[in-house]
């Protein structure tokens, strides 16, 4: 496992992967790596929970192994299964390898994470799985080992970095939370969102990024049904860029607003009654003052 000696070092590494963290997240990720504890992250959709795992994997150079949870997920999807057709062939061919040996074991994400030293394991949307599955994860998360009855205990030489995400459709079990470090990711503030946009989309002009981000920041205060996440901000910036715009104008904004807002009610609310013009004027103003503030 890569040793980051300080929080700053980790932060720089993540920044190089275009993932910008604030103090809280940097500290918590650093601690998760050093304490070798799973990290449970929650937050609004689109704040970069899944991206965190991807960035960590890229920064550490370790493979990313992803387990997408869903209702009814079980051992055969998460942990291991036997490769029956191959076992059958082996039997027919009269081979000598025992049928229930590692050779015929199909590794599913959790087992795979144990086999690859220092892998980044992303357990995505754990709240979608049933509570039984959570209980099953407990052994895995505390000891980084699993038991396959036919073979025995399989242990990780080097425990994986585990990132668990949840959308809070239900409360996760206390026992699971106790084994994890917890962090709630918020939407980034204006400055950081601009920085993210600039880092992810280096070909886009500063002014456009400033304005779009200021616009989105205002939107998030509007108590919409579905607030746009960072991913949608980036999409919108890209949309303007693709249409050859260098700043927000009302017409383009109105016609591309669907990149940002995905609810009919929200769209109607913003488009109607001059709301869009006011938001654009405000965002241009904020972008200008932010620039001046930076230089001053």
């Amino acid at each position: 496992m890569p040793g980051y000696n300080s929080i700053e070092e980790l932060r720089t590494a993540l920044t190089n992967e275009c993932y910008l963290t604030d103090d809280g997240l940097a500290t918590v990720v650093f601690l998760a790596l050093r304490l070798r504890k799973p990290l449970l992250v929650e937050g609004e959709p689109g704040v970069g929970k899944t991206e965190l795992a991807k960035a960590l994997s890229a920064a550490t150079g370790a493979p990313l192994i992803r387990l997408q949870c869903y209702e009814g997920i079980d051992v055969h999807h998460a942990l291991y299964d036997w490769d029956y057709p191959r076992q059958l062939l082996q039997l027919r061919a009269g081979g000598s390898t025992p049928l229930y040996s590692e050779e015929f074991l199909l590794r599913r994400p959790l087992l795979e994470a144990l086999a690859q030293p220092g892998a980044v394991l992303l357990i995505d949307e754990l709240d979608r799985a049933d509570d039984e599955f959570e209980a099953f994860l407990l052994e895995f998360l505390s000891d980084f080992q699993v038991t396959v009855p036919e073979i025995g205990v399989i242990r990780a030489q080097e425990p994986p970095i585990v990132i668990i995400t949840s959308n809070r459709t239900r409360d996760l079990h206390e026992a699971l939370k106790r084994r994890c470090l917890y962090h709630w990711i918020d939407h980034p503030d204006l400055q950081r969102e601009v920085a993210i946009a600039r880092a992810r989309l280096p070909h886009v002009g500063q002014q456009l990024a400033d304005q779009v981000c200021a616009f989105v920041q205002d939107l998030r205060w509007l108590d919409l049904y579905r607030s746009p996440g960072v991913g949608e901000t980036l999409d919108w910036v890209e949309a303007f860029h693709a249409l050859g715009r260098y700043e927000i104008d009302a017409q383009t904004a109105s016609s591309t607003l669907g990149t940002l807002l995905k609810e009919r009610d929200d769209l109607e609310r913003i488009r109607s009654g001059g709301g869009l013009d006011a938001l654009i004027a405000r965002s241009a103003e904020r972008a200008r003052s932010a620039r001046q503030g930076n230089f001053g």
């Binding site: 929080i7 103090d23 869903y70 029956y84 939370k177 106790r178 917890y182 962090h183 009610d265």
Partner: protein
């Protein structure tokens, strides 16, 4: 060894302080377990303990487990960092954790006056009028609330009425009825098809993997074909119940019914609202029937308050609905639809809820036609978006509820049928 308690090494001092912090947090209701303490201490060895930000986040990731706990942690950490006593005497009020039970009658700020031509005949008084002198809270500014009307209100609050101070006091036979109801719901709870199949002799899907697996035992010769059948899983049952003033006479039994449903169906969720929404699922969990009922009631700050159905449903949609609580669920709203808010808002939110739910059922305890209830403005607004409207179902007739739920398991309702008045009893 004369180290003495006064002269601690810096390490000891840090440990003592950290344990003190954990203890204070525990006292304020956070689940600061020994594990968490341990994590925190280990974290301290890795960070710069002189740096406030690092300390804050180290404590945060160890002790805070939900966004709601953050506020308490912030306050306590602030004191911790400044070296002040961690818990003040009136710590509770400082964190805004007011005790709803202490507020008395002022809480009925928007209580809906419970009078109206039809109700007088509709509500049986069961001869309890003379002993019910309890004053139902009404807003001071509520127009048309005279003493005389208060008198009528008081007469309605028979022993079913629930004041916050009164004990719930369920009778043994009631508790037994609840257990029976739970059993019934468990039996009748609607199911949905799961994506997963399980091996079955009666199944109709040929299971290649299973067949090959079985043949391994016989040297690879296939003797028997394996089949699989789809599994059924419980569908989520989502109760959203009105406990406002106008529903007061049903509230006590409603609460008990919720308890039964939560205990019975593995995927049941309970929410109640008057002026705002409270999630009760957690409070209602637990083996001890009476205790969990008391706990649940204490968790509702606006018991018997006014009604704002639209706002409550908006709240639900924005916080829980968006996270997928209602997706594919059977949603049961229990309310008389007497709403003080804007009917347009209510209609919009009910529509939104319906779009997510598998089936939206509205149980209205008032027996008469909605058109004849002048106060049921909200009910009329919501009508077009309800899949099943069940009027006149007295929540106290709990036996019927399980049957009702069981009858809903069928297929997806035909939506957008214009005449919504298809009502079963």
């Amino acid at each position: 060894m004369i180290v003495g308690a006064h002269r601690r090494t810096p390490e000891q001092a840090i440990v003592v302080a950290a344990v003190g912090l954990a203890r204070a947090l525990r006292e304020l209701g956070l689940s600061a377990s020994v594990d968490a303490e341990h994590t925190f201490l280990r974290a301290l060895t890795l960070i710069d303990v002189r740096d406030r930000t690092q300390m804050f986040w180290a404590g945060h990731c160890a002790f805070v487990h939900t966004p709601e706990e953050l506020a308490v942690f912030e306050v306590v950490f602030e004191r911790f960092w400044e070296g002040r006593p961690l818990i003040l005497q009136e710590a509770g009020s400082e964190h805004g954790e007011s005790d709803a039970r202490m507020q008395g009658s002022h809480h009925g700020g928007e209580a809906l006056p419970q009078f109206g031509g039809e109700a007088r005949t509709a509500v049986p008084l069961d001869g309890a009028g003379n002993r019910a002198i309890q004053d139902i809270p009404t807003a001071e500014g509520d127009t048309g609330t005279s003493h005389q009307e208060r008198g009528i209100l008081a007469a309605w609050s028979d022993e079913e009425a629930l004041s916050r101070r009164e004990n719930l006091e369920y009778q043994p036979d009631e508790l037994l009825a609840l257990r029976l109801l739970a059993h019934e719901i468990r039996r009748q709870a609607p199911a949905r098809r799961s994506r997963r199949a399980r091996p079955s002799h009666h199944g109709n899907r040929f299971d290649v993997r299973g067949t090959v697996r079985e043949s391994l035992a016989t040297e690879g010769e296939t003797f028997r074909l394996a089949f699989s059948a789809p599994t059924l899983r419980p569908r989520r049952l989502l109760f959203i119940c009105d406990v406002s003033g106008s529903m007061e006479r049903y509230s006590r039994v409603l609460l008990a019914t919720l308890k039964a449903a939560i205990g019975a169906a593995r995927k049941a969720e309970a929410f109640v609202f008057a002026t705002r929404l409270t999630r009760l699922t957690k409070s209602l969990h637990g083996q001890d029937l009476e205790r969990s009922l008391e706990k649940a009631r204490a968790a509702v700050p606006d018991w018997s308050g006014g009604t704002r159905i639209g706002a409550a449903l908006a709240d639900f949609n924005a916080s829980y609905g968006r996270r997928g609580f209602a997706r594919g669920a059977i949603v049961l709203v229990v309310s008389d639809g007497w709403d003080r808010g804007d009917p347009k808002i209510l209609a919009g939110e009910v529509e939104r809820l319906q779009m997510q739910a598998r089936r939206l059922v509205w149980i209205n305890p008032r027996p008469m036609s909605v058109d004849r209830q002048p106060l049921a403005i909200g009910m009329r607004a919501a009508m077009p978006y309800i899949d099943d409207f069940v009027p006149g179902h007295d929540p106290r007739a709990v036996a019927g509820l399980a049957q009702l739920i069981g009858g809903l398991a069928g297929e997806r309702p035909a939506r957008r049928a214009v005449a919504p008045a298809t009502a079963g009893g």
